[in-house]
């Protein structure tokens, strides 16, 4: 969407910006339109802050990460490609990458292993309102819940906290090869849970 069409949309829609599609709000954010930008922030702030807080586990740091994520979305709005995924997924990835950067700059361990069970419970329990949903997220939750504990931990440490196989091996006191195998096998099982909706089998 061009900037002129964004402006036209705002004039037409007035205060109804909150009803516009995600892509339109992102285009407005990138164009510097205050009305669309605030609607964009309002729509995604809980998602972005949630990712930041889950990864950094510190409210102050999480807010800074979340603010940076919206700033990055503003700066890079024009490179968003809807063919590669949703706005939510794009923004989530930006926030997650920023949070991982914070973890890697710390000298302490990215995550306390004792906190992993609570995290895995949080990401695998299905909210009541979507308990009957048969979408890919529900399937992925079930698959993650059904992973052997060691594989679920390895996938969470790598996928959520950005830990390398070597870091996981040290944390879990296991050989490096075992850590790599747990990541691989866990991810392959999760991928299978998404078939055939999102990915094709090989």
């Amino acid at each position: 969407m061009s900037r002129s069409s964004v402006s036209l949309t705002v004039q037409t829609m007035g205060s109804h910006a909150d009803r516009l599609p995600d892509e339109t709000l992102l285009a407005g954010l990138g164009a510097g339109d205050a009305d669309l930008a605030v609607a964009f922030v309002r729509r995604f702030q809980r998602v972005v802050y949630g990712v930041a807080l889950t990864v950094t586990r510190d409210p102050v740091t999480a807010e800074d990460v979340a603010q940076q994520a919206f700033e990055q979305a503003w700066r890079h709005a024009q490179v968003y490609d809807s063919r590669r995924g949703t706005v939510r997924a794009w923004l989530t990835t930006i926030a997650h990458n920023l949070a991982i950067d914070v973890l890697r700059a710390r000298t302490s361990a990215p995550v306390d292993p004792a906190e992993l069970p609570a995290l895995l419970t949080a990401v695998t329990e299905t909210p009541e309102r979507v308990a009957v949903a048969r979408d890919s997220a529900a399937g992925l939750r079930r698959a993650l819940a059904q992973l052997p504990g060691a594989q679920a931990r390895a996938v969470a440490m790598a996928g959520i906290y950005g830990m390398t196989a070597r870091q996981i091996a040290v944390t879990e006191d296991i050989p490096l090869g075992t850590a790599k195998t747990r990541i691989r096998d866990g991810m392959l099982k999760l991928r299978a849970a998404l078939l055939p909706e999102d990915v094709e089998d090989e």
Partner: protein, 236 residues
């Protein structure tokens, strides 16, 4: 500078999940990305794993940010409703830099570029162990100008596509640094910039301009002071 050995499909599959999750590091990641350049089957394999990793992030719980968050974001962007809306500088910037981390993006970009190449018929498929691809991948060690310590790595790929990736850890500093490539004729090309966080930063770009493969790289400050250099030689 050393050339990197080609990675087989079996070796790639062992590391594909880590690549998709953005936790593959250093030489192993560079070799995996080089393998993707010429193996369509593995591109599809890692694409599906990347989709899986992104879906997994969607499971993370949401949380209500502190009061005033929305206002602070708008202030940060200079888009506060009561304030004049400034025109933004939209000069050249790197495809991604610190904060827009290349970990997942780099893998995704490699897949996307590959798919695009295939779509326009320009993507050549080679045997999974084709040596030509690996020889196009060069790695160099960044050496600090101040004390000659090793402070990072630079990977440059000059095959049918071009990309580069660098990591640096200067231990301190939060300044913006500039990445430059040095051509065979000594010509220096500025490729992009990124901001350090406590001395650490990583940055990648899917392409650069210039004639032929570079022979070296430099990391300089905004005022041109050379922080570190890497030399790419033909020796292995």
């Amino acid at each position: 500078m050393s050339e990197l050995n080609g990675m087989s499909c079996a070796e790639f599959h062992d590391s594909a999940a880590e690549l998709a999750l953005g936790v593959l590091t250093g030489r192993e990641r560079a070799e995996a990305l080089a393998h993707l350049d010429y193996c369509e089957a593995c591109r599809e394999h890692v694409r599906s794993l990347t989709v899986t990793s992104e879906k997994m992030l969607s499971l993370l719980p949401t949380a209500e940010p502190p009061a005033g968050f929305e206002t602070r974001v708008m202030d940060r962007l200079g888009l506060a409703a009561s304030a004049p809306q400034p025109l933004r500088h939209r000069g050249w910037r790197p495809a991604w830099g610190h904060g827009f981390s290349p970990r997942r993006v780099l893998a995704a970009a490699a897949v996307a570029v590959a798919v695009l190449g295939a779509a326009v018929g320009g993507w050549g498929l080679h045997a999974s162990t084709a040596p030509a691809a690996s020889s196009a991948l060069k790695a160099g060690t960044l050496v600090a100008a101040s004390d000659h310590d090793h402070v990072g790595q630079v990977f440059v790929y000059n095959g049918e596509t071009r990309w580069m990736y660098m990591t640096v850890d200067l231990e301190s500093g939060n300044d913006t640094v500039i990445c430059q490539l040095v051509g065979a004729n000594g010509h220096i090309t500025t490729v992009g910039s990124f901001r350090l966080a406590d001395g650490y930063g990583s940055w990648g770009s899917p392409a650069w301009t210039g004639d032929g493969p570079p022979v070296g790289a430099r990391l300089v400050t905004a005022n041109g002071t050379v922080l570190a250099t890497a030399t790419f030689s033909a020796s292995t």
